[in-house]
């Protein structure tokens, strides 16, 4: 399986999913014209990846999303649901969500996602 890398643009985040290190990074603002279209290859890669992984070595999702519009939020939610499912099947998953410590709205948004899913979920100020 190849590493998935998508460069950051004004309205889309950088995607860097590495099969070998099992570190999956989404970093940057997300408000594309069509979020579902943008995240489709991300979903597909993740589905393949999660089918191939059969052991308990940790998979780490690193999220740094200073702004997400509502349709991107929905996509992030769908992504987290895929991880939730994988966790139920015994995979070892950690979510690190980085937020700007001076922006309470960003923290609220992150907290809400944490409440939505049953996953090991760290909120990390920076």
């Amino acid at each position: 399986m190849e590493r998935l890398f998508i460069d950051q643009a004004k309205a889309t985040p950088q995607i860097d999913f590495d099969m070998d290190t099992r570190i999956l990074i989404i970093k940057g603002q997300s408000y594309p014209e069509n979020a579902f279209k943008f995240y489709e290859p991300v979903f597909n890669w993740l589905d393949d990846f999660l089918t191939q992984i059969q052991d308990e070595r940790q998979i780490r999702l690193e999220l740094s999303l200073p702004y997400v519009n509502t349709s991107s939020s929905k996509c992030i939610m769908m992504l987290l649901e895929k991880f939730e499912e994988a966790k139920e099947q015994g995979r070892n998953i950690l979510i690190n969500w980085y937020y700007d410590k001076d922006n309470e709205s960003e923290l609220e948004c992150a907290e809400e996602f944490k409440e939505f899913v049953d996953l090991e979920f760290n909120l990390i100020p920076c």
């Binding site: 309205a11 579902f36 509502t70 929905k74 939610m77 700007d100």
Partner: protein, 181 residues
């Protein structure tokens, strides 16, 4: 009658409008305007969460219009709807506002009006529940948006959202929404 540029300047000034675009929205335009407003607010040393809320509401409002327009692609009404969109961002002494409007077909008013009534009357806890419900819901196939925009706008607004529908002709109404942050 020919309007002078200073007349337009006066209208913008008395309406407290900082920036305004009228015409056909594109994703590129939305990005540029959004980033410009963000920079402007940073220069004014506004708190980060105020900048965040103004930017979010601006993006949701304009993308709602853009998504609505996209559903009319191929229809004979497409050009009229696409060409008649407007968005203004302004600030009064204490608040920022995002004020936008677009043409809407008569038959699309009712579902929108219902949603607007729901979100403008709900309190913050009820809005949180609505948001959660919508986030957990399966996506409607073929839709560009997730149907969460107005809920999110109402959550970030500092007072209930104002909206109206005004008849243009037999086919269209002008729908406008004003959100104070």
């Amino acid at each position: 009658m020919c309007m002078k540029l200073t007349d337009i300047q006066n209208i913008l000034g008395t309406s407290k409008i900082l920036t305004c675009f009228s015409g056909r929205f594109s994703q590129g335009l939305i990005e540029e305007m959004g980033e410009a407003v963000k920079k402007h607010m940073e220069c004014e040393e506004m708190p980060k969460n105020a900048i965040f809320n103004v930017f979010s509401i601006f993006i949701e409002q304009t993308q709602n219009i853009k998504n609505y327009t996209a559903t009319k692609e191929g229809s004979p009404n497409y050009n009229t709807i696409a060409g008649n969109s407007i968005v203004c961002i302004g600030n009064t002494e204490n608040n920022y506002f995002i004020w936008s409007g677009n043409y809407i077909e008569n038959s699309d008013i009712e579902p929108l009006r219902k949603k607007l009534e729901l979100v403008s009357k709900a309190n913050k806890d009820e809005l949180k529940l609505l948001f959660r419900e919508q986030m957990k819901k399966e996506l409607e196939p073929g839709k560009n948006g997730a149907g969460i925009g107005l809920i999110d706008i109402a959550r970030k607004a500092s007072s209930p959202i104002e909206y109206s529908f005004e008849k243009v002709d037999d086919s269209f109404y002008f729908y406008e929404i004003k959100v104070i942050v």
